[in-house]
């Protein structure tokens, strides 16, 4: 029987590779028959929302845009949720960033550290923190 891994992620996708590592680790755990959860905390909550594309000309060089797009993780987070992962965000850290109330990516759940996170721990065998 597989184990349940919960990752506390405190980094967004652009500042370093910790978020990519967290998502990759969760994907690998699921591939190996385990369960995985991600709690988006601090800057990690920047991953929670759907994108709001700008309607006009971007003014970003193509190679820079490709570089930035390659680091986005929204589709992979939604994919994790589709494979049974609980992806929960801390609404307080969203509030601090003015993003609370924006639409979530499919599969992302609104939560908090006091209840949603501790509930995840009750069902977890392994807890890892990632984010500088």
């Amino acid at each position: 029987m597989g184990k349940t891994l919960t990752i506390v992620l405190t980094a967004g996708s652009q500042e370093n590779q910790d978020a990519a590592l967290a998502v990759g680790l969760a994907e690998a755990a699921i591939r190996r028959g385990h369960r995985a959860n991600i709690f988006l905390y601090g800057n990690g909550c920047n991953l929670a929302n759907q994108e709001a594309p700008f309607g006009g000309p971007l003014g970003i060089r193509q190679n820079l845009q490709e570089h930035l797009d390659a680091q986005k993780l929204g589709q992979r987070l939604t994919g994790l949720a589709q494979r049974g992962a609980q992806v929960v965000t801390c609404h307080t850290t969203e509030y601090a960033r003015g993003t609370e109330g924006l639409a979530y990516l499919p599969g992302v759940q609104r939560g908090d550290v006091g209840h949603a996170f501790t509930d995840l721990l009750v069902g977890s065998d392994v807890l890892i923190g990632l984010g500088r």
Binding site: G42, T118, V122, G123, S124, I128
Partner: protein
């Protein structure tokens, strides 16, 4: 089931990371999980008295019997004396940190 957590603060007061660690320690402690709050490196600055939410959170954690520790060498390197810290902080040697980690099922660094 994760039943114990050691929240390790390495960042000083004024950075969001330290508040995230305090909030998480408070949440797990109040949820009944065995919780310790370990402050080392610049994290020891969180243990100084002062105004505002972070210190209130720390004092509440200690008041509710949350175990709060500081590493002696981190204090000494910053010319801080244990007598300057808020009441209720246990000062340990660096060599004792490994044992503290062994006492918990998980450690999260902030």
């Amino acid at each position: 089931m994760i039943e114990s957590v050691c929240a390790v603060l390495t960042r000083p007061r004024g950075e969001e990371k330290s508040v995230l660690g305090l909030r998480l320690a408070w949440a797990t402690h109040m949820a009944g999980l065995g919780t310790s709050l370990l402050c080392l490196e610049d994290g020891v600055y969180n243990l100084l008295p002062g105004p505002g939410y972070p210190v209130e959170m720390l004092l509440n954690f200690i008041k509710e019997s949350g175990r709060t520790l500081a590493v002696a060498s981190s204090l000494a390197q910053r010319n801080l004396d244990p007598s300057q810290l808020v009441e209720g902080v246990e000062v340990i040697e660096e060599a004792e940190v490994a044992g503290l980690m062994e006492d918990h099922q998980a450690a999260l660094f902030f």
